[in-house]
């Protein structure tokens, strides 16, 4: 049995060079925000949407959500909700009134305003993998704890690929940095290695406030400038079932009060922390998300919020989470229907259970990404680089996912399906007739350079040409592309005062001890 990649050559044989394009690494698509014009796939009829809505409202009215945050409890009490210990029950009329304040679409503007992103409507955005504690690449060949250096490399990929629209959480946890100062060093890296929208973890007031300050310094923003519109966002996960924890709500309230965006993403694994039925898991997820979004709208009407979905199923044999499954796809589509029902943008994810960047990884990720498209998702977290249910970040997987994301972006270009007389091409069909081919015709010559998607990683040559150039399997080609990109990476321009200001801020906050680590 031939081992996959047996005839791989080290150090860039012909196949390596084939993917090298001057200093820029590869030939990629330009930055743009794709518009998804496909009619969403909607497995629920109106009665189904009403049933999930009613179920979620009954959860909020009859069962209630735990908020482990004193100020939040006081706010709910003030708003007239029924607060019993940490349990909060809220009426559907109040929830509906609050949701009415949430914008259906909003922008987030990072330090480089040309990297502004729009959430909502038909827009669909893709971001890097966030928060895996571990790292895997083909060179190391095993699962290892993440480091700052690996994180920086993945941030460079995040910046490099135009199809990646925002820098989400840490693309891998830098476990070599002490937790008290990790957010300072990594946010410094994020804000200097990328110029895209960044995220703050809601893990204690110090961390959120530090990231806010650093975003202000990086963008040269006064407090007034900053609070005038979203420049960053946070993402929180409820502690399913039925619970929002202290630190996450705290971080959200800080962001909400300063006009920053909030994504609320329950992690409802059907059969584990959520009902085994997908409609039940979606109902629980919607209830958890809306309870928090209602609070943020109460605190500051108009707070830009996003409903996140992370509803999947477990492997009933092992209890391990599964991703990119048929149930995952349908749950994402159902949540999309609910998000449109409430008029709030939707977050979903690229995801897989596979441990290495192989065939399984790509069919699971393809399923996840296509369900994001089908569901009308507006922002796709973890779209590039995720393995092992989010426990591993992989640069090869990052590069492979970017090929898929670029294809999705190209898929959304209306030019492909245009039907002008020039597109229908009866004249060209007449000109070529039954015995010719279209390579040399004027109709082809005028269009061929932009007619088709051009891959940077896929090898479309025949077997013989592919074999002669090394016979490398996709993951190994991705490894080379990753190395090529790193070797030619150029940090985005940045105002030197801003960079010095960031370094100074980090030094001062480190000297002061960083953030508490008793969470």
């Amino acid at each position: 049995m031939k081992q996959p990649g047996k005839s791989r050559r080290r150090g860039g044989g012909r196949a390596g060079n084939a993917h090298r394009r001057a200093a820029a690494g590869i030939d990629q698509m330009p930055w743009r925000i794709p518009i998804n014009t496909d009619r969403p796939t909607e497995p629920l009829d109106d009665a189904g949407v009403a049933a999930i809505h009613d179920g979620a409202m009954r959860v909020l009215e009859e069962i209630g959500i735990e908020f482990l945050h004193d100020e939040a409890l006081a706010l709910f009490r003030e708003a007239g909700c029924k607060v019993d210990g940490t349990n909060v029950r809220m009426g559907r009329d109040w929830v509906t009134e609050m949701l009415g304040h949430a914008p259906a679409q909003f922008d987030i503007t990072p330090r480089n305003p040309s990297r502004k992103i729009t959430l909502g409507g038909g827009h669909i955005l893709f971001g890097n993998v966030s928060s895996p504690p571990n790292y895997f690449d083909l060179e190391i060949g095993k699962k290892v704890s993440g480091t700052r250096a690996q994180c920086a490399n993945l941030l460079k990929l995040t910046q490099y690929f135009n199809c990646i629209h925002f820098a989400g959480g840490y693309p891998v946890e830098a476990v070599d940095l002490h937790a008290s100062v990790r957010h300072l060093d990594i946010t410094y890296d994020k804000l200097t290695l990328t110029d895209k929208v960044v995220h703050a973890y809601s893990l204690g007031k110090e961390r959120v406030e530090d990231v806010i300050e650093m975003v202000k310094i990086a963008g040269g923003l006064s407090e007034e400038d900053f609070a005038a519109k979203p420049h960053m966002y946070t993402n929180i996960n409820s502690t399913s079932p039925l619970k929002h924890d202290d630190l996450m709500i705290d971080g959200c309230l800080r962001c909400a009060r300063r006009g920053q965006a909030i994504i609320v993403t329950p992690f409802t694994l059907a059969g584990a922390m959520a009902p085994v039925t997908m409609a039940g898991a979606v109902t629980l997820s919607i209830a958890e998300a809306l309870s928090a979004i209602a609070l943020f709208q109460y605190v500051r009407p108009g707070t830009p919020c996003v409903i996140g979905t992370f509803t999947s199923n477990v492997d009933m044999k092992s209890g391990a989470p599964a991703f990119g499954t048929p149930e995952y796809m349908r749950a994402t589509q159902m949540t999309g229907q609910m998000a449109r029902f409430y008029g709030i943008p939707l977050r979903a994810s690229g995801s897989c259970a596979a441990n290495v960047p192989d065939g399984q990884a790509m069919w699971e990720t393809s399923n996840a990404l296509w369900s994001a498209v089908q569901s009308g998702t507006n922002i796709v977290y973890h779209a590039a680089g995720w393995l092992e249910g989010g426990l591993i970040a992989s640069p090869e997987k990052f590069v492979m996912d970017c090929e898929v994301i670029q294809m999705i972006q190209r898929y959304m270009e209306p030019a492909i399906t245009a039907t002008t007389p020039g597109d229908i091409a009866v004249d060209a069909i007449k000109e070529v007739g039954p015995n010719g081919h279209y390579f040399g015709t004027a109709h082809t010559q005028e269009r061929y350079q932009t007619a088709f998607y051009q891959p940077f990683l896929s090898d479309w040559r025949n077997f013989e040409a592919w074999e002669a150039s090394g016979g490398t399997w996709t993951a190994e080609r991705a490894h080379r592309v990753y190395k090529d990109i790193l070797s030619s990476f150029e940090t985005p321009p940045m105002d030197e005062d801003a960079r010095a200001g960031l370094a100074d801020f980090v030094a001062r906050r480190k000297a002061a001890g960083g953030a508490p680590t008793d969470f």
Copy 2:
């Protein structure tokens, strides 16, 4: 750099055993014909559909199609079409009238009536890879010419997997058999190793007639029984641009006159044998398909016909065909709209350009298969086992594709998105409350065995468990599954007289010299 699959163990370590289930090989889904309830993705508006229709009709009226078949030319002349040499121009009114005879839905019944398939409506069927001249597996490790033994192994997979609904063309060409008798031996293998619907190549009257006779013998059918309804089908490709060749039209006329089904699949590679614009390539494809279908309806109104699509693009750098691209997906969706416009079932394909069963193979194939779903395709050719643009058949790829197809089949089960009160699960959410989990609840216990898709190839364990059991990548797991299936394969039951009759027929026809090979 670690080589993919470095720690693979030969001969079935623990990971191999994990996929072994008694004599049956694996735990797979039961035979059923999935119903696609998703609303199709439709990139064209009504004006776009009208533009392609008008374009196709103008091609038929103003340019014409070449039919390199004397009897067909005489029939067109008789029908009032304008025949000039081999060029046939036909008016849109006549074409529309002929298409009105084509059924929107029909069945094909093989020798085992419980394997009957339905084409049309919401039904979606999947078939094995057909016609690659070459074979690749991980044991051989290189591309080799196909053999009868390899073909038989792939036929066993075709029979084994319940998600494969029909046995299309030869899953690999048996190049070790002389072309004069290959159809006899391989059709014998198909009809004895499988009990699913089979196909006849339209490669000369002798081959078609031989397959028809063998299908009759296998099913114990009289000529009257046989001609009473479809028991088999043929698939032809036009010689794009604008041409139907002699042997293919001959085979179709033989099938049409005896009530058998016909799939007409132009192979319109945009930028090569078709316009570089996708709408133009679809227009040409539709014109070519409809010209033949109109003829078959004229010959025998009601002939069961299918519009096939094989519109993709070429790599403009190398001229090599590409598959599963964004342009391919949109062309498939557009052709789906046209097929519904004409009220005729649609064929599409699983396909990829990748040379080995790796990540690229699976994202290209996923794109192709999901576009089949999105387009409302009724019959998916080459759905399992295809590599290198159809030049290679691979058993590992076959097994990998079947996992994806099973997920698509599961995706179409309405139970996933049911919203009865039991599905919404408010009572279970109340019972578990904020501090529990759902594993042990009655709600879960009553449903968990059928709640989620159960994979046979995907490894959902965490990295450590996966590594401890050998750390095998997907293609290598697929190789073991393939070997397991072969080792326990049981041929489907068959009437002994029918089997003896087939063997006798093959012997007699071989003694008579088989079929001419001067095509």
